[in-house]
């Protein structure tokens, strides 16, 4: 921003142009995200899906930047104020990395050393029809765990102490 625009009117026009620009950017990014989301439904290739998910995350971060920088005016604040907010948020880099790593490590360990956990991921259970569930709304809640119980016995409602639910 140049400071030559001391004129009130010019400053106003500049601010409105910025609002308009950011609105368009946010809408376009959201539409692109949705297009990618729809496209992803028809895909089977794991690496391609992963690449699309990465793109969606980048778009998400870009949207977050535009909201914080322009709608919340953080970009127009004094640098010290910006730093006291942004620097603590950098902790998220470590949070996300460490916790997701920990989660996937836990899964690998359980798959290696816990045969029951691994077996659960291979047993298919019968798919319930959503339409039917809607009609019998009251029963649906009790039916679903019961159906699971027949095949693998993870229901917590029926007393079966020898099989612990694995979450």
């Amino acid at each position: 921003m140049s400071h030559s625009h001391t004129d009130h009117e010019a400053h106003n026009a500049e601010a409105m142009a910025e609002i308009k620009k950011v609105t368009i950017i946010l809408s376009v990014f959201t539409i692109v995200e949705l297009i990618l989301g729809f496209w992803m439904m028809s895909l089977t290739s794991h690496s391609l899906i992963l690449a699309i998910k990465g793109t969606i995350v980048i778009l998400m971060m870009a949207k977050a930047f535009y909201i914080v920088a322009y709608f919340m005016h953080l970009k127009h604040e004094v640098k010290n104020l910006i730093m006291t907010i942004i620097v603590p948020l950098l902790l998220f880099v470590w949070f996300i990395g460490a916790f997701l790593w920990d989660g996937s490590s836990f899964r690998n360990l359980r798959n290696d050393y816990d045969p029951y956990f691994k077996e659960q991921a291979t047993i298919k259970v019968e798919k319930k029809e959503h339409g039917a569930a809607k009609h019998e709304a009251a029963d649906a809640k009790h039916e679903a765990p019961a159906a699971k119980h027949e095949t693998i016995g993870t229901s917590h409602e029926t007393a079966k102490p020898e099989v612990e639910p694995y979450y």
């Binding site: 609105t23 995200e33 914080v68 709608f71 127009h76 604040e77 989660g103 298919k124 569930a133």
Partner: protein, 228 residues
């Protein structure tokens, strides 16, 4: 951009005492720090969701779960449609909030009132959409501790999915609700000429920061729950 140049003579004066070194009002700075702490709360929720998802072999397919919308004929499924409407409602209400803040800076009371009303309508519309979706999922048998959906590969799913979904969208919905209440209070104060008497509309700016934060969180919740 040029407002943040370091080592300028202005910088030394900022810290020379007698004025706010952040060149910002106290309440606004504190609102920023509150939002930062709130970001950590939401971050903790979303990261724990990610951790649990990464430590589980199967996970429900969001396109299977969130595929309904109001007034849809029986058997018609449209994943992502309803949630994209909700997303655009929140983006639009964010824009009207910016316009309200902008009008406030120009001491334009009519503009503030008009845009605050539009923002409140957007917030209520979003909450209505969320209420419909929660109600719909509840009647499908989903709730805290109950998950009628299977994993994407057809294996049995745990209740982690629904627990996280209702906790995080519920916490966000509660923020939207408080935002709407704050905005209504701001609208009443504007109509009572409170800000005209004070000579500034800084309260609208603070309410605006909160409202944008709600929109910001939805960007993450929407992406993580419905797209990834």
């Amino acid at each position: 951009m040029s407002t943040t140049t370091t080592a300028s003579p202005n910088e030394a004066k900022l810290w020379g005492g007698g004025k706010s070194p952040f060149n910002s009002e106290y309440g606004k700075v504190m609102m920023w720090y509150f939002l930062m702490s709130d970001a950590f709360t939401f971050g903790a929720f979303l990261i724990s969701y990610g951790t649990v998802r990464f430590s589980t072999n199967g996970w429900p397919n969001s396109n299977e779960v969130f595929r309904s919308f109001p007034f849809a004929p029986e058997g018609v499924h449209a994943p992502l449609v309803f949630v994209s409407i909700m997303t655009f409602i929140l983006i639009v209400s964010s824009v009207t909030m910016v316009l309200a803040v902008h009008a406030g800076k120009n001491m334009d009371k009519q503009g503030v009132v008009r845009n605050m009303i539009l923002t409140i309508i957007g917030g209520i519309a979003f909450l209505s959409c969320q209420a419909w979706e929660w109600n719909h999922l509840f009647h499908e048998g989903a709730w805290w501790g109950a998950n009628p959906f299977l994993n994407a590969d057809g294996t049995a799913s745990s209740t982690n999915f629904t627990n996280f979904f209702f906790t995080i969208t519920g916490f966000h919905g509660f923020h939207v609700f408080s935002g709407v209440v704050i905005n209504i209070i701001m609208l009443i104060m504007t109509l009572m000429d409170k800000f005209e008497q004070r000579g500034h509309y800084l309260m609208i700016e603070k309410a605006g920061l909160y409202w944008h934060f709600v929109d910001l969180v939805w960007v993450f919740v929407f992406t993580i729950f419905y797209l990834l």
